[in-house]
């Protein structure tokens, strides 16, 4: 009974956010309603796991721990910015989400938005590989500026902006990387270019992760000042946080590159097979 109470207490949000709830519940509802469009179980699983991860790190008591332990904060961002968006993007949920939206909303909000010129030009700008790459690691650097990090952990609006920014940028970045056929545009980036981009964003992440992990200085004092949840030394906390920023984050680039490579080979295989058949026919 006590365990149940504790579990329930853990699952309750530390700082209830209607925006996160509405966004996640809305996405879940649309996705569920649109199930006729996409039946592949593995894709649905990827989507649900990704969505649950985002909701879980923001709206359970985990968020409380992430506010008070540096390495848990880094893990939160790894999930928000790397793993969960990657899973969601791999699920290619766009069409199913659109189909699952209530007709009125689809007609008056979603479709006009999808066709709006403003959205298209914004997306074209921020989905340029260089721009997307710089945004991707730039955000990590930005929120790890020690003085800014200090304030972000104390000021709730800033803290929320940081986490929203991470999730949104993660979705945009991984979507850019895996978005094969962009409708109405022939400028699909070459597989080699995408793999290169993943490699290039990996380097600055390794640099900042290693710099944090190997620094002898206490860089993020806010955790000591506001109290850690359990008595982990500041040094160990920072080392763990640095390692998370460094190794698993870099591994996500490798994982993404391997997935791209697999698709590349498959596409080439199809092309060669198709070519061979064409020659047979002639």
């Amino acid at each position: 009974m006590e365990l149940l109470a504790k579990t329930l207490a853990f699952l309750a949000p530390d700082e209830f956010s209607p925006a996160v709830l509405v966004t996640c519940a809305g996405a879940a509802w649309f996705y569920h309603r649109g199930r006729r469009v996409e039946r592949a179980l593995y894709r649905a699983t990827l989507f649900w796991v990704g969505l649950l991860l985002i909701y879980g790190v923001l709206q359970t008591h985990y968020d409380f721990y992430a506010q008070h332990m540096f390495f848990l904060h880094r893990l939160q961002h790894l999930l928000l910015h790397h793993l969960a968006p990657l899973l969601i993007v791999l699920a290619q949920p766009g069409e199913r989400l659109r189909a699952g939206a209530p007709p009125l909303l689809r007609k008056h909000l979603i479709d006009p938005l999808l066709h709006s010129r403003l959205l298209h030009s914004t997306m074209t700008l921020i989905q340029q590989p260089v721009m997307a790459g710089v945004l991707f690691f730039g955000l990590i650097y930005f929120w790890l500026i020690p003085d800014l990090h200090f304030i972000a952990m104390l000021n709730l609006p800033l803290y929320n902006a940081m986490n929203w920014g991470m999730a949104i940028d993660g979705l945009l970045f991984w979507w850019m990387v895996f978005n094969m056929r962009r409708e109405g545009s022939s400028a699909a980036y070459h597989f080699g270019g995408r793999i290169l981009l993943l490699f290039l964003v990996m380097i600055p992440q390794i640099v900042i992760g290693a710099a944090i992990a190997l620094s002898g200085q206490e860089l993020f004092e806010v955790y000591a000042v506001c109290g850690r949840v359990w008595p982990l030394s500041a040094h160990v906390d920072q080392q763990l946080g640095g390692l998370i920023t460094w190794i698993p984050a870099a591994m996500m680039s490798v994982a993404g590159a391997l997935l791209l490579l697999q698709r590349w080979l498959r596409e080439q295989g199809l092309a060669t097979a198709g070519g061979a058949r064409c020659r047979e026919l002639t």
């Binding site: 530390d14 700082e15 409380f64 506010q67 008070h68 200090f150 304030i151 952990m153 104390l154 000021n155 709730l156 800033l158 000591a224 000042v225 506001c226 109290g227 850690r228 949840v229 359990w230 008595p231």
Partner: protein
């Protein structure tokens, strides 16, 4: 436009004014919510932030059985406030015990007497303490009790400073020392 007007305008444009003050502590102005809480004091009376309206408030979390960090911090704060002389009474140090199980009102009353006449020992129910800790985004926790039943309490080291209107102004740390803290308090008292 007269010359005086021009100078005033230039000063305004260059952002001159009270905001150019430099602090030893971290400036938290407009970053955190105003002072608000419901707790009880050493006489088991209910106390809210309104009881300290018009005072500069130093808010610090700790526990009376603490044998290193808390007494050091409270001593430094007491020195800083004492050095303000006549102005000392415009300041209050609120020591919030996050260990209400051991820190009964009586313990709090005896404990705060050691340090300063401007120090008030406060505590509250678990819900009251959690609400306050959450408001200022600080954490606390309890270690495993030893053979004698004594246990450690983990808490923040932050000292939050509020101006006479209850707005959050500064975050101080003990290592700044009494002189620097007193200087910050003096500035706050002069320019509210």
């Amino acid at each position: 436009m007269s010359r005086a007007h021009l100078i005033a305008l230039l000063l305004l444009l260059s952002g001159c004014g009270s905001e150019t003050t430099t602090w030893h502590g971290r400036n938290l102005h407009t970053l955190m919510p105003d002072l608000a809480f419901t707790l009880h004091d050493g006489n088991d009376r209910q106390i809210t932030a309104a009881d300290y309206a018009g005072k500069v408030v130093l808010l610090y979390f700790g526990y009376a059985h603490c044998d290193d960090v808390c007494p050091t911090t409270l001593t430094t704060l007491a020195h800083a406030v004492h050095s303000l002389g006549n102005e000392a009474d415009r300041v209050r140090i609120l020591f919030v015990s996050v260990d209400p199980r051991r820190d009964t009102p009586e313990v709090l009353r005896h404990h705060s007497r050691h340090f300063s006449p401007q120090l008030v020992g406060l505590s509250g129910s678990e819900a009251q303490l959690q609400a306050l800790a959450k408001r200022y985004r600080v954490a606390y926790g309890y270690g495993a009790p030893g053979a004698d039943g004594a246990y450690q309490v983990y808490h923040s080291s932050a000292i939050f400073v509020f101006d006479a209107r209850g707005h959050t102004r500064l975050l101080l740390e003990e290592r700044l020392g009494a002189a620097a803290i007193a200087q910050d308090l003096r500035q706050l008292l002069i320019t509210p």
